[in-house]
Amino acid sequence: MMENEEISPEQSGAMVGTFWSLRLYVAGQTPKSLEAFANLKKICEEYLQGRCEIEVVDLLENPHLAREYQIVAIPTLIRKLPQPIKKIIGTLVDTERVLVGLNIQASSGKMMQDSGVRRG
């Protein structure tokens, strides 16, 4: 199961020019994986409309891919872009923590400010 999903931009915010490349590692369609994917999708739609790409990697099909980003826990979300790489494990239930973990600063609702992101 490998799927790419583009989320079309709904709103051009402050993060113009920054593209988010995310990869979600799962192992089969377990409830945890599905939950994580749903949560991630929601966050992307809400905060990164149109500027983010989600790639889902199923390790059951491609076990060798676990080595590249040192995947141990499932599900794991990797922020490939912008640099540096960030890693979040779990079902991504806590949106705040996901945003902090991905360095997406959600100031005043849906506005995002992140100096680190600009650098990348």
Binding site: T30, E35, K87, I88
Partner: protein, 568 residues
């Protein structure tokens, strides 16, 4: 915790062992690690856990044709490879041949954010794919505890670890899990809770500035095993564990004798020297000639073509060679001939157990017919009496078991009595020779006596032991009013004895002469008496003749008278 299924497994595979190939380890565990089950190796930092695991895999791959996976949570594959290249293990080669696979699992707390539930399926998948890739039979997880530092949710982690160990069992992998030693528990995070079949503890203890590595089998379910702490060495070829502990007194006793190197000592010992395979102790104060006696023994062993291993704990080899050549013992030739091997080291270089291990390994390597330890008293500087005794007991047993004659020297201090050993090991010894300095008449002389010699008709005499450039010699015993006469007193005694015998022979001569004179006198007397008798006889004869002549004369006179008177 133990499911019904695994109970059944235990019953079935009660003796299934997986040999590690690690020297000595398989002996103390009666075959190795439990096959198809996880074992825990715990210990503090730097005690050799990683190496132990690596050797388990390398030996498995090279000696038992069992491929293995090394899961490293701490060190990178290239670091691991570099660390063991000095032991002659080429991980790269093994990996190319599909015998070994190093799976590096890097988990760092700093770059992981956690939210919501998760499991360690990713790790499982990686392990499974590594195991399947080479058909691994063995696996090492070094050290799984890193996960505790990296993953914040301990609850999840613990249940996942439990699942991991079950998974390893189900896969039939002989697994070794390493764990850092904790303050109260065997491991910091209580891994022993999950791995309960076999637990091995490695530790390093420093005593008197000397570190000794030790290994202990904390538990081994369903198997007998040695319970002691075994010293081990990380040497040039990897681990070696010292298995000598069995104090079995069942070695064969040999009737053969080996000469001691001092001719008259052989006689003192009842004919032809020490028994082969026996233990000989030479005690004495400083400068009584212990090393010389030991060297004489080495010389006699080598001269008969035997091999001798000489552990020198006091002197450098060159010094021994020089000193011995001064008393006519040329040990250098035997060293050159490869019959004599010295191992000189300060006792303080290693701990007690390490010495034992070194000696054990050297004996195994060199295979000598005699071993000399000169002196054992120096060993007590690194261990207490009990330790020294325990080590020597094991060593003596080991050597006796191999029929090797052992000679120990022991330096006793001048203050203590002669019949005392520093390490209280006299009971271990079959022959005990005591050397003593005896001070009389302003000089010190060496005395030797055989305190005991099991199974021999040995002399009870105290002999003077003379070291000269001609070699070692035992002289005749001279007993005086103050005991044995030694040195110049002995020489004086010899002179006195000589004078006495001379005087006696003079006296005898004088008396003989006197008697002869008397006899001559008597003979002369006899001769003169005889002469007198002859004279008397002659006188008697003369008288007779005279008387006859007188008678004739008288008769003639009468006739004349008658004629004159004209008698008719």
């Amino acid at each position: 915790m133990v499911s019904d299924r695994s109970l059944v497994n235990i019953r079935q595979d009660v003796l299934a062992k997986c040999p590690t190939g690690i020297q000595g380890f398989d002996e103390i565990t009666a075959g190795g690690l439990p096959k198809g089950r996880p074992s825990l190796v715990c210990g503090g930092p730097g005690c050799g856990k990683t190496l132990f695991g690596m050797e388990f895999l390398v030996r498995g791959a090279t000696e038992f044709d069992e491929p293995g996976v090394f899961v490293s949570f701490e060190e990178r594959p290239e670091e691991l490879a570099q660390n063991v290249i000095s032991l002659g293990w080429n991980l790269q080669d093994l990996e190319t041949n599909g015998k070994l696979l190093v799976e590096y699992v890097q988990v760092e707390r700093s770059d992981i954010e956690e939210t919501g539930e998760y499991d360690l399926e990713g790790l499982f998948i990686r392990l499974a794919s590594a195991v399947d890739a080479i058909g691994a039979k063995r696996i090492v997880l070094d050290t799984v505890e890193s996960l505790f530092a990296a993953l914040p949710n301990e609850l999840i982690l613990r249940s996942e670890l439990r699942r991991l160990f079950r998974w390893l069992k189900d896969k039939g992998l002989t697994a070794m899990i390493t764990g850092e030693r904790g303050d109260r528990n065997l491991t910091r995070h209580g891994l022993e809770e999950y791995v309960s079949d076999c637990v091995i503890d490695l530790n390093v203890r420093v005593k008197s500035d000397i570190a000794t590595r030790r290994l202990r089998i904390v538990k081994y379910r369903g198997s007998r095993h040695g319970t002691n702490e075994y010293p081990f060495l990380i040497g040039a070829t990897g681990f070696s564990v010292m298995p000598i502990t069995s104090i079995n007194l069942d070695y064969a006793t040999l009737m053969e004798r080996v000469p001691s190197g001092v001719e008259r000592l052989d006689t003192m010992l009842g004919g032809s020297g020490y028994y082969k395979g026996s233990s000989v102790l030479i005690t004495g104060t400083a400068g009584t000639g212990k090393s010389s006696l030991a060297s004489a023994f080495a010389q006699s062993i080598c001269a008969t073509g035997g091999k001798c291993l000489y552990f020198a704990f006091e002197e450098a080899v060159s010094q021994i060679l020089r000193n011995m050549s001064s008393i006519g013992i040329n040990l250098g030739q035997w060293v050159d001939a490869g019959l004599l091997k010295f191992h000189a080291s300060r006792p303080t270089t290693f701990g007690m157990e390490m010495h034992l291990l070194t000696m054990y390994n050297m004996v195994k390597e060199f295979n000598p017919s005699a071993v000399i330890i000169d002196p054992i008293s120096n060993l007590s500087s690194v261990g207490n009496e009990e330790e020294v005794k325990s080590v020597l007991t094991r060593f003596v047993d080991y050597l006796k078991g191999r029929g090797i004659t052992t000679l120990f020297t022991d330096l006793t201090s001048g203050k203590t009595a002669g019949e005392y050993t520093e390490a209280a090991i006299s009971s271990l010894m079959d022959t005990w020779i005591l050397l003593r300095n005896i001070e009389t008449n302003g000089e010190r002389n060496r005395a030797l006596f055989v305190l005991k010699a099991r199974g021999t008709d040995h002399s009870n005499q105290v002999r003077e032991f003379v070291l000269s450039s001609q070699g070692l010699e035992l002289t005749d015993a001279y007993l005086g009013p103050e005991g044995v006469l030694m040195g110049s007193a002995r020489v004086a005694q010899e002179v006195r004895a000589q004078a006495e015998s001379m005087r006696r022979s003079q006296e005898l001569k004088g008396r003989t002469r006197g008697l002869e004179t008397r006899r001559a006198m008597l003979e002369a007397q006899m001769a003169s008496l005889k002469q007198e008798v002859i004279c008397l006889d002659e006188e008697v004869e003369m008288f007779k003749v005279e008387a006859m002549a007188q008678d004739d004369a008288l008769a003639k006179g009468r006739d004349d008278m008658a004629r004159i008177r004209k008698a008719d």
